[in-house]
């Protein structure tokens, strides 16, 4: 091979690398926000409040001095992140991530002293339960995000919290347990206690994701996969429609499930093996992960278990490599999750969606860079948020989206992976946009999505709980020709498709 050929191959490889990453991105130049708008965005994102007029005036005073201006922004970021309002915002965000009812914020006490000093009011510091308190302390004390999985210290403000911890504690007196007016009690366990796992061993988590004789803690495991691995865990096989309500009632504990065994339920429902959830091959796409993890929650009702239940953290990496970590006790499970790179990558995605925006595509190279930063910062949430709000993407001006492209729908396509990918019927959408989609598959997806609601071939199936708006968006992208990341149609648009803009656009800046 001569030198010219080698050079050409090298150039081709470089071009391909660029094409699959940066060149596929939305590369049009983006304007930066003005300093005042940046301050406003910082304040609203971090505190949920606008800057005061005095803050704008301070910024104006250093407008022409770049070093002072940067120092001013750094100081403001620190000030906002250490404010009680930031804690409140983070509690809200985490409550949403855990799918909990959000607290009654802004929990403001009345202003004290001269009103001019208490312009925004002061949030109360205590939270009504150990889980929300844990969320608040992660923000207040800049704790590692892993505390959600490995934390051993709580403030138990509610009686239910104390009752959850009671089996593991010797020091709780009956008076403490019976006094509803008692202030929050600190509850601590040894740093290596394998029975405790941060948010997963709180009354609020256990009651939010309750267990029954049928779901056998798989619901809790599904929540763990959703929260910490960004895996939606959509059910693949529905129960028979006519008996759906009864099955759901049994499965999700809306009746006295203590008297019904799984066998009794299945016998009673007369579900054939073929129709029974768990009786079909594709069920394994989720259950091979859920079942071993569910076992670590064994014998947890709303109180913790003194014994350590054996289980495992099992999942498949992109490309099919299996991860299988045997654990004993929920504490070991939490620690094992926190060590996996997929956990870091998922949390980075979450922070990105909170601070930058879900529809601003996180390029694979950028994601790797940020994941490395997240690891380098010891997973401390506040430090990572500091880094993100100083990132160029945070300072970009909002931009009107002219056309729906693969970049915009790729977060939605990833949902298909959880059911279909293991069945080998679709490519791995999580790898998009470095992987182009076969036009035939796109045509098939469009056809199946546009079928009538009662058609059994319609996708996605109604029990998969897609957000209707997400579905509408995906359908529209397909109907408009499934433009790739560069805006080039991959299939023929449907004649009725409005070849225009993203849904509900307007308000160009």
């Amino acid at each position: 091979m001569n030198r010219l050929t080698t050079l050409l191959i090298a150039l081709l490889l470089i071009s391909f690398a660029l094409f699959t990453d940066t060149a596929m991105a939305d590369t049009a130049p983006r304007a930066r926000l003005s300093d005042a708008s940046y301050l406003r965005k910082l304040s609203l994102h971090l505190r949920g409040l606008q800057p005061t007029p005095a803050e704008y005036a301070e910024l104006e005073a250093v407008e022409n001095e770049p070093a002072k201006r940067q120092a001013y922004f750094d100081a403001k970021i620190d000030q906002y992140i250490t404010s009680p309002h930031y804690q409140d915002r983070m509690v809200f965000r985490l409550a949403e991530l855990f799918q909990l009812r959000t607290p009654e914020v802004p929990r403001l006490t009345s202003v004290t002293g001269p009103i001019s000093q208490g312009y925004y009011g002061t949030p109360r510091s205590e939270h009504p339960d150990a889980l929300l308190d844990l969320f608040s302390r992660i923000a207040r004390d800049n704790l590692s995000w892993d505390t959600l999985l490995t934390g051993k210290d709580y403030f138990a403000g509610a009686l239910t919290d104390l009752r959850t911890f009671e089996p593991l504690m010797s020091s709780l007196s009956d008076e403490t347990l019976l006094d509803p007016g008692k202030p929050p009690v600190p509850v601590s366990f040894a740093a290596d206690d394998p029975r405790i796992a941060g948010a997963l061993t709180t009354a609020r988590f256990l009651s939010r994701y309750n267990t029954t004789n049928v779901n056998k803690n798989r619901r809790r495991a599904a929540a763990v996969f959703r929260i910490f691995y960004c895996d939606p865990m959509s059910p693949v096989v529905p129960p028979p429609k006519d008996k759906k309500a009864a099955v759901l009632a049994q499965a999700f504990g809306t009746v006295d499930h203590g008297t019904v065994t799984e066998k009794e339920l299945q016998d009673g429902m007369s579900i054939s093996d073929a129709a029974r959830h768990g009786g079909q091959p594709q069920c394994a796409t989720c259950h091979y992960k859920l079942d071993p993890m569910g076992k670590t929650f064994q014998n947890f009702g709303l109180t913790l278990n003194t014994e350590l239940a054996p289980g495992a953290l099992v999942f498949a990496r992109p490309g099919g490599q299996k991860v299988n970590v045997t654990v004993k006790g929920i504490g070991e499970l939490g620690a094992a999750i926190a060590k996996t790179p997929e956990y870091s990558a998922c949390q980075v995605e979450w922070f990105w969606s909170q601070l930058i925006g879900q529809d601003v595509f996180l390029l694979p190279s950028r994601k790797s860079e940020l994941t490395a930063d997240f690891d380098r910062l010891g997973h401390r949430a506040n430090d990572f948020i500091r880094l993100l709000v100083k990132a160029p993407e945070f300072r970009e001006k909002p931009r009107k989206i002219e056309m729906l492209t693969q970049l915009h729908v790729s977060p939605l396509l990833k949902r298909c992976d959880s059911c279909h990918n293991a069945m080998g019927t679709i490519p791995e959408f999580a790898a998009i946009p470095t992987q182009l989609i076969d036009p035939e598959l796109l045509e098939r997806m469009r056809e199946r999505m546009n079928l009538a609601d009662d058609d059994k071939r319609k996708m996605p199936r109604d029990w998969t709980r897609w957000n209707p708006r997400d579905l509408e968006l995906l359908k529209r992208w397909l109907n408009e020709g499934a433009a790739d990341a560069n805006g080039k149609g991959q299939i023929k648009p449907l004649p009725t498709a409005p070849n225009t803009k993203a849904p509900d656009q307007g308000g160009a800046k």
């Binding site: 606008q50 809200f92 009812r101 004290t112 925004y120 909002p398 308000g507």
Partner: protein, 271 residues
């Protein structure tokens, strides 16, 4: 709900829509990149999050006492969660995808409640603090001239004083009832300054106004509000009868309430 209330709410709803879209060149739709969680919808559109919507009232009405405002206007509770677009814990998404007529009703009702609370509460010198165990404590409340200067700008307060428009008790016992300054006595520069102070507190300086596409310049936005006030002065408008009958003569206090009413929540919270 009485017919008068319904009529009143529909008028408020109309004025909200008019205020948000009437004089603006482009439609007020929020840019799709402006996504934020804990909001009405998590893809493409970004509407203010429920807690931000409630917090913004605190910022807009610093002199209003929280406890004199209905609970559904100051806390997220079962009555308002759905309307404000809070996420359904069961599904992880909001039950409504965007603000609807119920939101307009809620917002208009609460806006008026806050205006009323601020108009009356700034007169009181005490307030109650409710504790975790349900007990309440009475605390002294200190309102200073500085608070009024913060709210109405120092220049305006100074001009009102030099025009003899403030009662003599104001310096020793500052309260809204003794802040009797009339709008028409202010110089054009002070009028602009006052409007500007409210716009800056609620939206931000000129760069923000331009970046967000609210108006081509700060001056244009201020002029829009000044024109609205001018129109009211010439023909008192029943849309602004949040304190009872609209006054025949505008005070600085009433004008400020009108401004808080006119600066819509979308402009206050978009980013």
């Amino acid at each position: 709900m009485t017919l008068r209330t319904i009529s009143f709410l529909s008028v408020i709803a109309y004025s909200l829509v008019a205020a948000s879209s009437g004089a603006r060149a482009s439609a007020p739709t929020i840019d799709p990149r402006l996504i934020h969680k804990t909001a009405f919808e998590q893809n493409w559109d970004r509407y203010p999050a429920p807690d931000e919507i409630i917090r913004t009232f605190n910022v807009k009405f610093p002199l209003a006492l929280q406890q004199n405002v209905p609970e559904s206007c100051r806390l997220l509770n079962m009555d308002n969660r759905g309307v404000l677009g809070d996420n359904e814990p069961a599904t992880g998404v909001p039950s409504v995808s965007r603000p609807n007529s119920s939101f307009v009703n809620w917002y208009a009702t609460c806006l008026v409640a806050y205006i009323k609370a601020e108009s009356t509460d700034a007169v009181n010198s005490f307030y109650m603090v409710y504790k975790r165990d349900g007990s309440a404590e009475v605390k002294n409340r200190t309102i200073t001239v500085k608070d009024f200067e913060n709210q109405y700008t120092a220049e305006v307060v100074k001009e009102c004083r030099s025009n003899g428009e403030i009662s003599s008790s104001f310096d020793t016992n500052p309260s809204l009832s003794s802040f009797t300054c009339r709008w028409k006595t202010l110089s054009p520069a002070s009028k602009t300054k006052l409007v500007q102070s409210f716009v800056r507190a609620a939206i931000g300086p000129e760069d923000v106004i331009i970046d967000l596409g609210i108006a081509p310049s700060e001056g244009a936005l201020l002029q829009r509000f000044l024109d609205e006030i001018d129109r009211f002065e010439k023909t008192p408008d029943h849309r602004y009868d949040f304190l009872g009958q609209p006054p025949s003569e505008l005070s600085v206090v009433y004008t400020s309430m009108m401004l808080k009413f006119l600066i819509n929540i979308e402009d206050t919270l978009r980013y």
